[in-house]
């Protein structure tokens, strides 16, 4: 059966596009419906991801809403991408992945090798949870049908430059805003912190909609827990690097949703891409919108990911 897939013309020099990544957290269904409605109506983004990435146990809460959400986003002119689970275990979750092959008309983001296997030969996207560290792996993915690839978060800029040079024929994406997924486990740490097990978790991950803050014993912010997933305590913020990334060949920039005003966040990055504001102004605006958070960009600069590297000559605000 032929699979019409909504892909855009690709070129390293194509206009940069903004992407609203999948919601990683367990937000209440009402809030999530309102979030996507507002993104459809108001957010100046080109692409919107849907789907549950972190925990299959959350899926029943929103499964019946996705068709309406997808339709609304598409009517608003957004390209919709369906993101798959990052960690697939057991027959039930494998069944969810096998069903993807029957899903028509949507670009699917494969976040593990079960999804890559199932989607082989059909145009698809490879997500940032898949380890693409070098040219050989990148080329393999393209030959297998990947039309867009989101690069892993921990890559330094030298690797990104090499990967971009090796793949002028594919769309490359990087996250530029939001907490960075650092690890995934079979164990639920939200449940564990509440004295529960995964099987009887009471969905306590929903109590911390931007992740549960994890501090060191000295009281320093460090990480954030989101059920099976561990995220950075800091928010990634790459406004100072986006122009160079685009010149290197990154043409999609992902904003990872948080409970702050994501429409306003999208506006900041759109203005930055359009040259209406500079990186310093964008950085400060992001800080104002995101609230009481620390920003970081260390991975890209080959230093600890938790750190904020100040590019010489750019006066970045605290």
């Amino acid at each position: 059966m032929s699979m019409p897939v909504n892909t855009m013309p690709s070129s390293a020099l194509s206009a940069p596009r903004l992407v609203m990544g999948p919601v990683l957290f367990h937000w209440q269904a009402d809030y999530l419906r309102d979030f996507y409605a507002r993104i459809a109506d108001e957010a100046d983004v080109d692409v919107v991801h849907v789907g549950e990435v972190v925990c299959a146990k959350r899926m029943p809460f929103f499964d019946r809403d996705w068709p309406d959400v997808i339709e609304r986003l598409q009517r608003a002119g957004k390209q919709v991408v369906y993101s798959t689970l990052a960690l697939v275990m057991g027959d039930r979750e494998v069944g969810i992945i096998r069903d993807l092959a029957e899903m028509p008309d949507l670009l699917i983001e494969a976040n593990d090798f079960s999804a890559i296997g199932v989607l082989a030969g059909r145009p698809h996207m490879v997500g940032p949870y898949v380890n693409i560290y070098n040219e050989g792996t990148l080329r393999y993915m393209i030959e297998r049908g990947a039309t867009r690839i989101a690069l892993p978060w921990e890559l330094p800029e030298s690797s990104i430059a090499n990967l971009c040079a090796a793949a002028p024929d594919v769309e490359l994406e990087m996250q530029v805003f939001g907490r960075v997924p650092l690890a995934i486990s079979a164990r639920c740490y939200s449940a564990r912190a509440n004295g529960l097990h995964k099987d009887g978790c009471r969905y306590v991950c929903g109590d911390t909609p931007d992740g549960m803050n994890v501090d060191t014993l000295d009281g320093a912010p460090f990480l954030a827990v989101n059920g099976l997933q561990t995220l950075s305590g800091t928010y990634l913020e790459l406004s100072a690097e986006m122009a160079d990334l685009h010149r290197a060949g990154i043409n999609l920039f992902r904003l990872s949703p948080h409970r702050c005003d994501m429409v306003a966040i999208a506006t900041v990055y759109r203005q930055l891409l359009g040259g209406l504001i500079g990186p310093e102004e964008a950085h400060q605006a992001v800080l104002d919108i995101a609230g009481d958070v620390n920003l970081a960009n260390g991975f890209l600069h080959a230093i600890p990911g938790a750190e904020l590297y100040r590019i010489p000559g750019q006066a970045q605000p605290e």
């Binding site: 992945i97 090798f113 079960s114 560290y133 070098n134 792996t137 090499n162 995934i184």
Partner: protein, 325 residues
């Protein structure tokens, strides 16, 4: 079940062979393997000599080349695979897709094992690696329960190897950037986790503080044994409570489950610890050798009495029991 044992140095390789290992696994002395620690691993000449030693005693040798090649520098990993095949190791343990393809194309007769660092946790992922690269064995990530492992073995035509003893990742292996978040160096890129040159200890009155990079990983009272600050085994504060949020400083020990693992269809048991010394290797390998021989003879395996060898001197069966999750 085959007993696959760690060898960080030629001396520990010989100790493992003499203690009854069916297989020893090792790596070259660089970032091509996931135990890239100072003073550890093998030169080409050492691997050639020790492979000859092992083969003469009926023991197989596997070479781990299981980090992710760096963009712009893939040749270093290609050369590691080429040299291992030329030396005549019995299998190469790989994680990266590009490297799997290179090896399949360049060395079609080489036996390929999928490293735990590839984190293939389900039947479709394993079939993918088998179909695409002819992978013959998968080292399963330490996220699966015994029931899930048995289900997998019923559905795949690929051997499985599981971790039996030693340090325990609580995260899906090969998909964890916690170490590089704190130190800039990661298992995937550098072959290290929570590397020693980013570790320091501070005395604060009676307390000892262990730090990794800029972050406090634990604070020990005067009566507590100070441990190494592996990031995910640290004590942190969340929801107003301090504790071992991810995992206690504990080690995996499946001795009590060996008959169940055999029934579940597992081909091989892996002992972690290429960073460990000769004495440790002799004792742990010897203990597992006896337990496996007892089971093969139809007897109950005698408890290993290895708890004094384990990290924090406590042990767990980890994710193999579902209540761990």
């Amino acid at each position: 079940m085959e007993l696959v044992c760690p060898a960080g140095t030629p001396a520990s390789l010989r100790a493992a062979v003499e203690a009854g290992a069916d297989v020893v696994y090792c790596g070259f002395r660089d970032e091509t393997n996931a135990r890239n620690f100072p003073g550890l691993n093998f030169s080409r000449a050492e691997l050639a000599a020790e492979t000859e030693f092992a083969h003469a005693r009926g023991t197989h040798v596997y070479l781990a080349c299981n980090t992710y090649p760096t963009a712009g520098n893939e040749a270093l990993w290609h050369k590691a695979v080429d040299d291992a095949v030329a030396i005549g190791v019995d299998a190469v343990i790989l994680a990266d897709i590009g490297l799997l393809r290179y090896t399949r194309d360049r060395h079609p007769d080489a036996r390929l094992h999928l490293s735990v660092q590839a984190s293939a946790s389900n039947v479709e992922a394993i079939r993918f690696y088998h179909r695409e690269f002819g992978v013959r064995r998968v080292v399963l990530p330490r996220v699966l329960s015994l029931d899930e492992i048995a289900d997998l073995n019923r559905q795949i035509g690929v051997e499985t190897e599981v971790f039996a003893f030693g340090g325990m990742c609580v995260m899906a292996e090969g998909r964890c950037s916690l170490s590089s978040y704190a130190t800039g160096e990661s298992p995937n890129m550098n072959g290290v986790c929570s590397p020693a040159h980013h570790v320091h200890y501070e005395e604060r009155g009676d307390a000892t503080v262990s730090r990794l990079g800029d972050f406090t990983i634990n604070v020990y009272g005067a009566s507590e044994t100070v441990g190494y600050p592996t990031l995910c085994k640290g004590r942190f504060r969340a929801m107003g409570k301090a504790g071992y949020l991810f995992e206690e400083p504990t080690s995996l020990d499946v001795t009590s489950m060996l008959p169940e693992l055999e029934v579940a269809g597992v081909t091989a048991l892996k002992i972690e610890g290429r960073q460990r010394g000769k004495a440790y290797i002799s004792q742990v390998v010897g203990s597992f050798r006896r337990a496996l021989d007892q089971i093969a003879a139809g007897q109950n395996a005698v408890a290993s009495r290895l708890s004094h060898m384990t990290e924090g001197q406590s042990d767990t069966t980890g994710a193999y029991r579902r209540n761990w999750q």
